[in-house]
């Protein structure tokens, strides 16, 4: 399910920039569970290396520097494409699961 987490991170950045821990909390609030730092930051680094997000260091409210991530235009395009691909996959899987349940009910 790693690809889906990539997609969720891109989606979480669609309405504006976020820094790492802010992202982790956002995903948690969205019901995706607590994503560990050991998963989240390497993922962000990979998205950045792929040019889907950019990171910028700025001072946070307590003087600590924070790295804020923003979607690039490539990231936005990737998000749109992968979102439709994912929805199509879910729709097919749902059909298959419903068929399975239909047969189960008939027996």
């Amino acid at each position: 399910m790693r690809g889906v987490l990539d997609l969720c991170v891109l989606a979480a950045l669609a309405d504006g920039e976020r820094y790492g821990y802010d992202l982790a909390q956002h995903l948690d609030r969205a019901g995706l569970g607590r994503v560990k730092g050991g998963t989240l930051y390497p993922l962000l680094a990979r998205l950045e290396a792929a040019g889907l997000v950019t990171g910028e260091w700025r001072p946070g409210h307590q003087g600590q520097g924070r790295k804020y991530y923003t979607l690039t235009s490539d990231g936005r395009r990737g998000l749109e494409e992968q979102t439709s691909a994912w929805k199509e996959f879910v729709a097919r899987a749902t059909t298959l699961l419903d068929e399975g349940r239909g047969k189960h009910d008939e027996q």
């Binding site: 821990y21 050991g38 390497p42 680094a45 990979r46 600590q64």
Partner: protein
């Protein structure tokens, strides 16, 4: 492990893998911020520093080499003459092949295709007589892979 010792181990692990000082301080600062804000335990949230460093850099390296469509992933390990054989032993076990030796630098490569990865062992000989060492080691199946006088480096596929 407390935050401070975790962060310093992480910095060491990143540097050993050839991350430059900008990348190292950035990665460490990001972990530090996360820990101070979340109050989480570093081992719990990020795993052992060595593994976290590996995961962080490998993903970036593979990504960069994918973009370049390269056959090899390249990495420069940083070590001094005192610790380098231990670094090479670990690297060789993980499939890193030493291709050259420089100033505090062990230049390695590994096939991008993980199926093609071989494991390597390394040996270092100290001598002023290059020819004699070469003959000795070749007879035992060792291949020369670096020269930083008076150190001669040899590799052998495991």
């Amino acid at each position: 492990m407390n935050n401070e010792s975790y962060l310093s181990e992480l910095a060491g692990s990143l540097q050993m893998r050839g991350a430059n000082s900008a990348r190292t301080s950035e990665a460490v600062a990001e972990v530090e911020n996360h820990l101070s804000e979340s109050g989480e335990d570093p081992m719990e949230a990020f795993g052992p520093p060595d593994e976290y460093a590996e995961q962080l850099l490998l993903r970036e390296e593979r990504r960069a080499d994918e973009a370049a469509d390269a056959r090899w992933v390249e990495r420069t390990f940083r070590a001094t003459a005192f610790g380098e054989m231990r670094v090479l032993e670990d690297a060789g076990r993980q499939g890193w092949e030493l291709t050259d030796v420089g100033y505090y630098a062990l230049n390695c490569r590994r096939p991008r295709d993980l199926e093609a990865v071989r494991r390597w062992e390394y040996s270092r000989r100290v001598s002023a007589d290059h020819q004699a060492v070469l003959e000795d080691m070749s007879a035992l199946g060792w291949e020369p892979c670096g020269l930083w006088l008076p150190f001669h480096y040899f590799k052998r596929s495991l």
